[in-house]
């Protein structure tokens, strides 16, 4: 079959995605101990019972992302941006609907694997392995990661436990580790606002590099400037629904008009 649409190769397809969080409210309020017990023992109807609240975070989002696109996700706090990102990464199961992806999308979020009681050195290794790099890969990139983070600019800090770092230093090391790997589909959740000005410029550069190597980039941000600088398409989510999907300028203008009111 002769494919005429050369550039339009889909990498991520969301098909009517719904995501529901179930929150245990700890049996407080009206939920008595017996209600809590029946919740544990019972099945089926248990979810309707008091004490478990459902939060419908994403309601029926459908879109297709193509190779080479950088897509910004905007919306007010709690509109479901980060949740949608996690669903694309396959980290949160969907309630109904499906997310199809090309390869394994990765979320730029290695923070959770790092341990504050360990030295920066061991955290670099641990973080690299947690992202699925091989031991050799981690070893060969170790110097780059440390240099990029700039941790050692003020003395030998990499051999100290991470809990002794200032919050800026910690954030820099975390970003340096997370950005060390190349990804097919890259998901970035508000990672650009860390560190001092000098580091911000360096990390924006790195994001552009990653974009070149990655097939598709998703960026969640509240900074309209960084969306404008990096994205060519924007999805506007509000209350878990896709309000608008289009070129950056068009959507941002509408969004700014809405939020300025």
């Amino acid at each position: 079959m002769a494919d005429t649409n050369r550039d339009r190769v889909p990498t991520v397809i969301c098909d009517d995605v719904h995501i529901v969080y179930r929150v245990h409210t700890g049996g407080g309020g009206k939920g008595s101990a017996t209600a809590a017990l029946s919740r544990i023992v019972g099945r089926g109807k248990a979810e309707v019972s008091r004490g478990v609240r459902k939060v419908h975070a994403v309601r029926g989002v459908t879109f297709t992302a193509y190779r080479g696109e950088a897509i910004g996700l905007i919306g007010t706090n709690g509109s479901g941006k980060s949740t949608l990102l996690r669903a694309i990464a396959g980290l949160l199961p969907t309630e109904s609907g499906k997310v199809y992806t090309d390869g394994q999308p990765s979320l730029l979020g290695v923070n959770a694997a790092l341990m504050n009681d360990l030295t920066g050195e061991r955290n670099v290794i641990l973080g690299g392995l947690a992202m699925g790099m091989s031991r050799e890969e981690v070893r060969s990139r170790y110097e780059d990661i440390v240099d990029f983070s700039g941790i050692n600019e003020k003395g030998d800090f990499i051999s100290l436990p991470m809990r002794t770092y200032s919050s800026g230093m910690g954030a820099r090391l975390r970003f340096a580790i997370a950005a060390a790997k190349n990804h097919d589909v890259l998901l970035i959740d508000e990672a650009l606002a860390t560190g001092d000005r000098k580091f911000q410029i360096r990390s924006e550069e790195r994001i552009r590099e990653l974009r070149k190597e990655a097939g598709t980039v998703f960026l969640v941000s509240h900074s309209n400037k960084s969306i404008r600088d990096t994205c060519d398409r924007v999805l506007w989510l509000e209350k878990g629904q896709l309000l608008m999907d289009g070129p950056t300028d068009e959507v941002l203008k509408a969004y700014e008009r809405e939020t300025a009111r």
Binding site: T4, A89, L107, L126
Partner: protein, 310 residues
């Protein structure tokens, strides 16, 4: 609830004008070979994924182990001091005050007790770490993509490393009570290996249950304590239950914790001969390991795509 639509904004998505236009999302996905994100892989693929993560499992478990005592002034000395103090407390209460060493000479009883405590603690801690493996690491589960079995296995491995530190104390105790290194000590390797496989299986089962019902973390200490007292950690089952019906002693002696404890005691302690072991003990140890190891792994894998839901 009512959805208030903001300012009449309209979706202005510009679909590509191409042959793909008429396709629904599922057909489009199929055409370009996209797969469902976060779907559960097949069992063999899962094992392969897990194998490719072996370095992470190792690094994660030893990192946890190191982090455990990093705030203490004595640091890693506690790896050995904690089990030693534990053994002393139990000896004081069960050995000296309650006289639980019925049927065993003092040279046998003290290493018997210390072995029992260390070996049972190995299983106990694996279970407790298993319950929290998913529910206590939701941040990690929700941030990175990896086979979730990595976590319970990693925690069991951490407990094995902890046990190996305890073994230093154990060997010292055994030697000071007249059990010298011999060829029989080599049996420690298969015995510990089988117990390790059993513990991983149990940790995997607990991890899946704990992910659904985090309350298990509150309940399990009581279950584990009952199990400990029923497994003859500080007394010889056959000597203590001599005047009870024989089937009670049989049930207690063939329970996995007692089997592994007895095997390790037999390997290590000179005065604790084969007459203290139930018959077919190695087969039993192997069976427990296989049933729980394989069963636990499959049970855990079956819910792989559901871990991490809020």
């Amino acid at each position: 609830m009512s959805d208030t639509h903001l300012g009449g904004a309209v979706a202005t998505s510009a679909p590509p004008s191409s042959a793909d236009e008429g396709l629904d999302p599922a057909a489009l996905a199929a055409k370009y070979g996209l797969s469902v994100s976060g779907a559960r892989p097949g069992l063999f693929e899962y094992v392969r994924d897990l194998w490719s993560r072996r370095h992470f499992i190792l690094a994660f478990s030893s990192a946890k182990l190191t982090a455990q005592y990093s705030q203490a002034k004595l640091g890693q000395v506690w790896q050995v001091a904690t089990p030693l103090l534990n053994a002393l407390v139990y000896y004081l209460i069960f050995g000296l005050i309650l006289g639980a060493g019925k049927g065993l000479s003092k040279d046998v009883y003290i290493p018997f007790l210390v072995t029992g405590i260390f070996v049972f603690t190995f299983t106990q801690n694996s279970v407790m770490a298993g319950v929290r493996a998913i529910s206590g690491n939701l941040g990690l589960v929700r941030a990175l993509h990896f086979p979730r079995a990595t976590l319970p296995i990693s925690f069991s491995l951490q407990q094995l490393q902890q046990l190996l530190f305890s073994m230093i104390v154990l060997v010292a105790v055994a030697i000071s009570f007249g059990s010298y290194p011999s060829l029989r000590w080599l049996l420690l390797v298969p015995a510990l290996l089988l117990q390790f496989v059993f513990n991983i299986g149990l940790a995997l089962i607990m991890a899946r249950m704990g992910a659904k019902t985090p309350d298990l973390a509150q309940l399990m200490p009581f279950v584990m304590r009952t199990w400990m007292y029923a497994s003859g950690v500080m007394f010889s089952i056959s000597a203590m239950l001599a005047d009870k019906p024989a089937w009670i002693a049989d049930v207690l002696m063939y329970n996995p914790a007692a089997v592994y404890m007895d095997l390790i005691r037999y390997s290590l302690i000179e005065g604790y001969g084969a007459e203290n072991l139930p018959s077919h003990v190695w087969m039993t140890a192997l069976a427990w390991a296989l049933v729980f190891g394989i069963g636990g792994f499959v049970y855990f894998w079956k819910a792989e795509e559901r871990y991490g839901r809020g």
